[in-house]
Amino acid sequence: MKENGDETFNVMALTLIIAALVLIASAVVIWIVTKDLYTDAYFILEAFFDAQNTATSYSLAEWAFTVAPIQDLLPLLAVVIVDSLSRILIVSFILAAVIDLLEYANFEEAINELRARALRGHIILCGYNEMTESLIKKAKSTKMRYVVVNPDRNVAQSLGEKRIFNILGDYSDTDVLKKAGIENARAVIFASDNSMDNVRRNVYNIGINMAVIPEQLAGLEMGEFLIKARGA
């Protein structure tokens, strides 16, 4: 008797594990396939589910169980299978939404913000372009601490993939600069033409003052070269 009970328990546990795995796999597949439109897809599926659920519960099932002989139960079996699949899909959609929410919460961003606040004597690089890229290389080679502040989510993602420490946000916003640990920063470098005045204003307010105009420097370098070449 006890062995029978254990066997039943094992079968149930295995069934539950398989069901859970099917659900998780379905959820991941749905999340990947319908990432941007899963809300619409979910409501369409739900409407379909409601319709066939009503049919199953109130008419076909009743008819099948009370009137039909066993060989006529095949249509019912088909309905039950569709019903089960629909339920699996519904739950999968809900799980997919949970995965989406977790992605939206973006724990990496939150962790990066905490890390940035803890930095001391670092440099804040506002914007990402060739100049900041060159500076990051130098900073990495000398183990200088840095954080890139950038307003573009796609750029942030690409920086994350390149293992470049960054936080997402508009660097003309004082709060974002504070998140980057500006109070304890050694320098702030803004590398974009956009919002330059705002950034300057913010930087001056906090008391750090350092700005370089790449074109100006290049012009001076070229001028100096020409003077030397002329004298040679």
Partner: protein
């Protein structure tokens, strides 16, 4: 005016880079001819008493009217890397001895510009990054 000049420096493009080149050269009393396409900038330069030719520096005719055959050097400082490359090739083809300085926004083009005949290639972002890093590492 440009026809009379000799051993002068031609500056192509009067943006921020060009402006700084012109200022540096004038401080050292170097004779300068600027080639610029923008009419407003041309007027401004005239008001400042600087020799200026309105036109596209990638054109042989324009470079010749700036006296490239007699010039000591040319600074090609336009915004467009492709135009700069084209201007370098054109300048070198007209005057094989002229000293050429140019700018490249894309660092990858630096070698190409040197191959085309530029003696010096400034990359604004690299210049800025070097300057900033020098400043940042002061006292470390």
């Amino acid at each position: 005016m440009a026809e009379e000049l000799k051993d002068h420096v031609i500056v192509c493009g009067y943006g921020l880079v060009g402006e700084n080149i012109v200022d540096t050269l004038l401080q050292h009393r170097v004779k300068v001819v600027v080639i610029e396409m923008d009419g407003k900038k041309v007027e401004l330069l005239k008001e400042r008493g600087i020799n200026v030719i309105q036109g596209d520096a990638t054109f042989t005719k324009v470079l010749k009217s700036a006296g490239i055959e007699r010039a000591r050097a040319i600074a090609i400082a336009m915004d467009d890397d492709a135009k700069n490359l084209f201007a370098v090739i054109t300048a070198r083809s007209i005057n094989s001895k002229i000293v050429i300085a140019t700018r490249a926004n894309d660092e990858m083009l630096k070698d190409k510009l040197k191959e085309a005949g530029a003696g010096f290639v400034a990359t604004p972002n690299k210049s800025a990054s070097n300057e900033l890093f020098k400043e940042l590492t002061k006292g470390i």
